[in-house]
Amino acid sequence: MDEPTRPAADQPPEQQREPDWQARIGSLRRVKEGRIAGGVAAGISAKTGMSVTLIRVIFFLTAIITGFGLAIYVIAWLFLPATDENTNIASRAVGDLRGIALATVTASMMIVLLVFISILGIGLFSSLSWPLVLAAAGLVLIWRNASPAEQATMQGFTQPLLGAAESGGRSRFGLRLLIAGLLLIIGLAVLASEHDAVALLQPLAGLVLVIGAVAALCGPWWLRVMRDLVVERQARIRAEERADIAARVHDSVLQTLALIQRRADSPQQVIQLARAQERELRSWLFDGRAPGSMDGMAATFAAAIRRIQQDVEAQHGVAIEAVTVGDCGIDDDLGALLAAAREATVNAAKWSGAQVVSLFAEVEPDEVSVFVRDRGRGFDPAAVPADRKGLAESVRARMERRGGCATVRSVLGEGTEVSLTMPRTAGQREPSRAP
């Protein structure tokens, strides 16, 4: 999408053979860096050496005094290509029939509006009416045909407006009500300031009739264009979603499949890769977590358990069947419980010889418990080998320091189960069913 920024000197040769004025205009570009709207002022400044601020002030003053500044700016935006583009927006807009229709709709609506205003005799807008129509139509074409980067910039401007129009939050509704009320009061005040009330009624009646006529004539057409636009917008959102999914699938699944093909001779590695990928894909599909975004601290207890599952599966190549019931936030006590659970799980994966380790965690109102179970070789608790004593001691000590308890049950040849229980402190007891 983003072409590399091309310096002005690096023009295709046929453009340099064009007439002198066109070549000179041709090197006038809209500049991306430091732009506020289209980068026209910055472009002129880069070309002429004048101060950007001065040019902006001139544009601004001519815009609010006569309206021509705005029109000129929009026309320049349309016809000057950006620094990194070879075509201007206008040449792209020629092919955009729907955009032209929309620009016509906008212009005609504005003309109707301006005619009404002039009928009402508010002289304020009459001088800037035609540049305003031109600018609005031009902006519509720019909006639809600008490069994606520019569209993003414009979206930044309009986000608050669109947000107010689309999301039906109560505070937004209040805001709209306030604005509507203000406008109504101003309108009524303008009407009331005309002293002769009867004389006012005549143009008003005429106005209503004209509005009716225009609406009857152009209304269906306006509506159709708007509806087409909504349909097109939805299609674009769908296309973006598809592109997003494709990108994620490529980053995660396809990469892993490629790795699996390359390591087809090592079943252990293939299993590990497939398992890690499965986990990642699941967490994206069902928990709404982006692939690869699992690093850092897990926010909730259930997420932390899933984290243990992922890490141990990845490091030791043993399947961990993790089941969690309920969820809550993590405090220091539960942090200790999680550390103990991780140690027990790693231990089972490393020493038991079992291919599957069950990890069950349950959050209850008064306590949180974790069970780590394997059907591996087990051991005789009476004759604990030195390497396992470390586990039992450290896990138990860690749990007891925090007021929890740990028990290890093991039978030779049948497997081992470590049970960990931690009471919940008062502050933790609020049910927080985090996502």
Binding site: R282, G288, A319, S358, F360, F371, R429, P431, P435
Partner: protein, 227 residues
């Protein structure tokens, strides 16, 4: 449920019908099941599955939760009332609890994950063929979660039938042990009860899951979907 065909199914080779939209997966299951069962048919979508099952009258249908023409629960709800001797075992790679619960509520006798080993799958098929319920640790976790009494604060859900809307302490205990990775036999030994009693507890949980109108079940699933 129907005693005359139970012995043949449990003791001999149960007749199995596989419904899954992935041909590769069907072939894999078929080869894993090997000679332990008789695979009488396959289908890759809801309509062919309904036709095929009605024709073959298998003992057990291995049913993928996700099918292109709608969920696996469509197959179950279509056939379960007319084919009481056919049992459905849901098989899924999905972790989404609401999908799993939907198939169970439609009438499936159990749920296992697709990562299950071949021998465990054969055992699960035998159990379902004999009329028992099969709970994987994951399903047990889902059920415990769904029937959890909301810890303080939130108002208790209005219960239309307390008998159906709550698990007994014993059922809870059994489910916890399943979630911890215990087999029925191990649970029986641990709780000093017979394996038959464990099975009856599990069947009773399954019945509650299917019949309960507990609105928390739906709310819970909805919450899970939003999460």
């Amino acid at each position: 449920m129907s005693p005359e065909d139970a012995p043949s199914a449990a003791a001999g080779r149960p007749r199995v019908f596989i419904v899954d939209d992935h041909g590769l997966f069907r072939a894999g299951v078929r080869s894993e099941l090997g000679d332990h069962v008789e695979v009488v048919g396959e289908a890759d979508d809801v309509l062919p599955a309904v036709e095929g099952i009605a024709r073959c009258l298998p003992d057990v249908v291995l049913l993928d939760v996700h099918l292109p023409g709608g969920g696996g629960q469509l197959v179950v709800s279509e056939l379960a009332p007319v084919l009481p001797q056919t049992r459905f075992l849901a098989l899924s790679a999905s972790d989404a609890p609401e999908d799993v619960i939907a198939v169970i509520r439609a009438g499936a006798r159990g749920y296992v994950t697709k990562t299950i080993s071949g021998s465990e799958l054969v055992d699960a098929i035998r159990q379902v063929a004999a009329g028992d319920a099969v709970f994987s640790p994951r399903l047990a976790g889902f059920v415990l979660d769904a029937f959890a009494t909301q810890p303080g604060g939130s108002e208790p859900a209005p219960s239309f039938d307390p008998e159906l809307d709550q698990l007994t302490p014993r059922e809870r205990e059994v489910l916890r042990l399943i979630a911890r990775g215990y087999t029925y036999k191990e649970i029986a030994r641990d709780l000093f009860i017979s394996a038959k009693t464990v099975e009856s507890h599990v069947s009773s949980v399954l019945r509650k899951l299917q019949l309960s109108t507990r609105h928390q079940l739906t709310r819970w699933a909805a919450e899970r979907r939003l999460a």
